[in-house]
Amino acid sequence: MNQVVGKHEKSDEIPKQGKQVKEKKIKSKPGNELSSNSVTSEQAANKLKEKELRKLEWEKKLAEQKLKNDKENLSKAELKNKRREQQEAQRQAKVEKEKITEKAKSQKPEEKNNDIRKSPQKITEVKKTKTLKCVQFVQHLYRESNQNFISNTVNPKDIHPVFIKLGVQYAERVILGSNARCLALLAAIQNLINDLQTPPKHEYCRYMESVLQCCTNYLQECRPFAVSMTNALRYFKLQLTHMDKSLTDNEKRARLLDVIDLYINNDIKRAWDAICMKVNDKIFTNDVILIFGCSSLLYRILIDANKSGKKFSVIVVDSRPLLEGREMLRKLVSAKINCTYVLINALSFVMKQATKVLLGAHALLANGSVMSRIGTAQVALVAQACNKPVLVCCETYKFTERVQTDSFVYNEIGDSNILLSVDTLSTTSPLVPLKDNPKLNILNLLYDVTPPDLVTAVITELAILPCTSVPVVLRINAKENM
């Protein structure tokens, strides 16, 4: 995987022209991770000697491998030292790069812009609104690349425009939430199925597979796949390979479209209905239900329960920086549900009034951990401390075989600038002028992992289960799909 760490910013917000940043491309072997931590420009990247880079990468790879291999053997402190070395290396690299950036500063900015336009592999529309800025490193974090959807490895000609649009929507967080993202992906694939013309001497399904691979690679670079998307995609590919080869292209198209429709209906929409029914049985009049953030499934559940005439109230807990809960609040209020709204700091204050905690999930991992938006683990923790039942609502298509025990093995890092903008303050944050200080990191993790012992039950379309039943469900599902 080619990973470049960076973050986006609207170009007009970039304060200094010297820091006007271009995308940086580093050729590296798949699976190699590179955390880059400094502000670079294309010039800078070009000037950076290949040798240096290689060395840096090698060190990092080494460190990483060591980390992975020796993880069990190493004590925590030792681990830390390793990481520190790694950081040190990154720091040095950064200093070097900054020197080069200094040089780059002296050159005219127009030149740089020209360079961008000349480079043929870039998607210029995207380029206009977005530039890359490298984020400062954060200690001991395995970092997934984020938001680098300008890719040199993918030729835009190979990508269906629907996917390009989708990619931008993912990266700009226009489409948010694992359900919405999955549905959007499936819709895009349907589009692709319709539009794809098999070139001569190609078999439709094979060709489809290769094109799809290209598209998904591109999407991966825009934003890593959600588990729901991976699962849906895997299912589709399975159907693709099992397709009867004797059929005509049009028949194949129709079948594939059916496959997707079926998936949407059975695995997603029916699942919602089933979960709604199951949760509805658990909501009683005078309940106070605490929810966190915004979740399409929870919204359906609450609206359904409200329609069935139960009188209950909802506490919406919200957290910065996305403040999705406000959207949820607006929807619930317009449905005339009695709501209380707090930020996550007041959690312990409102938890006593709550009778149940309902949570949505991004994915359920095989070890029973719940991966969800950052803050969920905290809600579950406080709920447990106050002896309130924590119910996680999750469709089984979000179950995954991956295993994760803490929030750092796999995560995404969001734009740190949004942490600095506060809409409820009349003054700007004192951190804004220090944004570029190397001593200051602003970390905006997107997900966290809730350990299974904090979750009372998971409500799926199949049954209400303990977290630990995830592998069982996975096994059954796998059998069914065979």
Binding site: T424, L425, S426, T427
Partner: protein
């Protein structure tokens, strides 16, 4: 005592003016007994909030301008000083009394004459509650003043949005300002019934960037340069702050003054209790801590009887001192009980605001009577629920106000006009100039009708005559109506008479609208009609009834006013016979109405 010792008046002390009285009759009849500034808002006098706000905001000297109930206000302030309430330490309060002032503008003219203000100052309209820091705003104003010597006033707005309870429809404003926050355009949208707003093109041509906003709540706080007071003195037709803003914007070149604005964000809050709706909204917002750190006083460690149903939701309820809640009564979350409220047995109170009033009105419906002196004042919850608003208005009106329906009726029937000439109609010595004034008005109107002049200009003329002869509002109303009616008598008799009369009346309708604004003005108008009808026997029989019908249909007169007036007309007079059928018809219509639908 402690005051004199602790506060040393400084020459450069920051100063504020608080106008204590509203000169409109929103709060009549309660305000007949209690001045607005002593209204209890969540069990504390309104003025306490205002003064605490000023003191915390950094003001060192405040002039409290009082016109009515001066003794009560003085006593209250003295009491506060004696008790050494928080603000007394850092702020000096002077009470300025002037019973001759009948408008906001008059107060400022009076202050100008007294010459008490030294520099930039803060000007508060009646009923302000806020928590903003004033010093930074004053500083900003003086910075603006450095760049633009004409800067007269900085208006303070708070970011809000339409549909918010505290954004009262009468205060809905559209303003346009440039990148330097200079106000280019200012219009109160609810005062006109127009559906569209016309912006002058120049403001877009002359400025590189213009912000147009409609989501602002007027905090009724303004930062003023010393030039503001002389401006009021020079332009005697400035009666309110809105007049001032409007006047300055129109005559920017002549007056050479400009207006700026500041928009509050974050936890800065500002509102003014200018009518019952705002009273309610501000009460709830105070209770919900929007004005933090200014909060209603809370007694901690209250003792409650065991098994009290209140226990559960105590944090959401405000109960004033000496409240009696009888057995079986239930008070649920979100309710505010005023001082001394008595709640009778088995009454359910949900989400309402209850204040005890002195006027034990016989009109009150038994349903709304919760206890002795306590009536229901429902909290309006949603903006969709306009009915509730009307309900509230109706209930209130039945309680104390007669009919002030339009105050709550944001969307229709709004009879306020821009230049609010309204003054309190209390008393005035009968001046000799009244006759002169009358003839002058007749002259103006005749000329205006012949030359088809704009009614707005005529209003200006009338107003200037009024000031020239020092005529009270009551007489102005009376005489203007009388003048119009006199004109009507000059119309040619015959079959064309009534069409021509209605043409005349519709021509003068802006003037009628300007002067017939409230109950009292209606009474004056009817008096004028009566006088003309009696003194002039030549008039056609149908004249009176036509006139009344016309005025009623055009909403100048309310049926209550007509009926009230009619009840005082002598039974055996000719006039009585003329009007009787119309009155009967009204009576029936009203009965049908009220039996039909409570909320009208």
């Amino acid at each position: 005592m402690s005051k004199s010792r602790n506060t040393v008046a400084k020459d450069n002390a920051t100063q504020a003016i608080v106008i204590a009285d509203t000169f409109e009759d929103e709060f009549v009849p309660i305000s007949n007994d209690v001045p607005l500034c002593l209204f209890r808002v969540v069990n504390r006098p309104l003025i306490d909030y205002t003064l605490e706000f000023l003191s915390l905001g950094g003001i060192e000297e405040t002039f409290l301008f009082c016109c009515n109930h001066v003794a009560a206000v003085k006593a209250h302030i003295k009491k506060s000083i004696d008790e050494a309430v928080g603000w007394t330490l850092t702020m000096k309060v002077h009470i300025i009394v002037s019973e001759s002032c009948w408008s906001f503008g008059d107060c400022l003219r009076d202050l100008d004459a007294k010459g008490l203000l030294r520099g930039d100052f803060v000007l508060l309209e009646p009923g302000v509650i806020s928590n903003i820091q004033l010093l930074p705003l004053l500083k900003k104003h003086s910075e603006v003043f450095q760049l633009d010597k004409g800067a007269a006033m900085t208006l303070i707005y708070q970011e809000s949005s339409i549909g918010h309870m505290a954004l009262c429809p009468q205060d809905e404003t559209i303003i346009a300002y440039n990148s330097k926050n200079r106000v280019l355009f200012h219009k109160k949208t609810q005062k006109t019934k127009e559906k569209r707003v016309t912006f002058p093109l120049e403001i877009f041509i002359e400025n590189s960037s213009v912000s147009v906003r409609h989501n602002l709540k007027d905090t009724h706080i303004a930062i003023c340069s010393p030039a503001v007071l002389p401006l009021f003195s020079d332009n005697f037709d400035f009666q309110t702050k809105d007049d001032f803003v409007k006047g300055l914007l129109i005559n920017e070149d002549i007056l050479g003054s400009t207006i700026y604005c500041q928009i509050l964000k974050g936890s800065n809050y500002g509102s003014a209790i200018s009518n019952w709706r705002m009273y309610q909204a501000v009460s709830l917002e105070l209770n919900n801590k929007w004005v933090y750190p200014i909060v209603p006083t809370v007694k901690r460690n209250r003792t409650l009887p065991e098994n009290s149903a209140l226990m559960l939701q105590l944090e959401k309820i405000v109960i004033g001192p000496n409240c009696i809640i009888k057995k079986g009564a239930k008070v649920t979350a979100g309710s505010i009980l005023g001082k001394g409220v008595v709640i009778n047995e088995d009454i359910l109170i949900t989400n309402v605001l209850i204040q005890s009033t002195k006027s034990d009105d016989i009109l009150a419906q038994p349903i709304d009577k919760i206890g002795e002196f306590a009536y229901r004042l429902r909290a309006c919850e949603d903006e969709e629920d306009l009915d509730l608003d009307k309900l509230l208005a109706n209930k209130l009106s039945r309680l104390h106000i007669g009919d002030d329906l339009y105050e709550y009726d944001g969307d229709s029937d709004d009879e306020f006009s821009d230049s609010s000439e309204e003054l309190s109609h209390t008393y005035s010595p009968p001046p000799d100039d009244t006759k002169l004034f009358f003839t002058e008005v007749v002259d103006s109107l005749t000329r205006g009708y012949e030359d088809k002049l704009l009614c707005d200009n005529l209003i200006l003329e009338v107003n200037s005559s009024r000031y020239a002869y020092n005529i009270t509002l009551k007489e102005v109303n009376y005489n203007v109506i009388k003048a119009i009616l006199t004109l009507s008598q000059n119309l040619p008799n015959g079959t064309q008479y009534f069409p021509q009369l209605s043409q005349l009346l519709s021509y003068f309708s802006p003037i009628l609208k300007n002067y017939i604004k409230n109950e009292a003005a209606m009474a004056d108008c009817l008096q004028a009609i009566e006088d003309i009808a009696i003194s002039n026997t030549e008039l056609k029989d149908k004249w009176v009834i036509f006139l009344l019908k016309y005025l009623y249909e055009k909403d100048f007169l309310s049926e209550e006013a007509i009926l009230k007036w009619f009840s005082n007309v002598k039974q055996d007079s000719k006039l009585y016979n003329q009007v009787e059928p119309f009155a009967n018809w009204l009576q029936e219509a009203e009965e049908e109405d009220s039996s039909d639908d409570e909320s009208e």
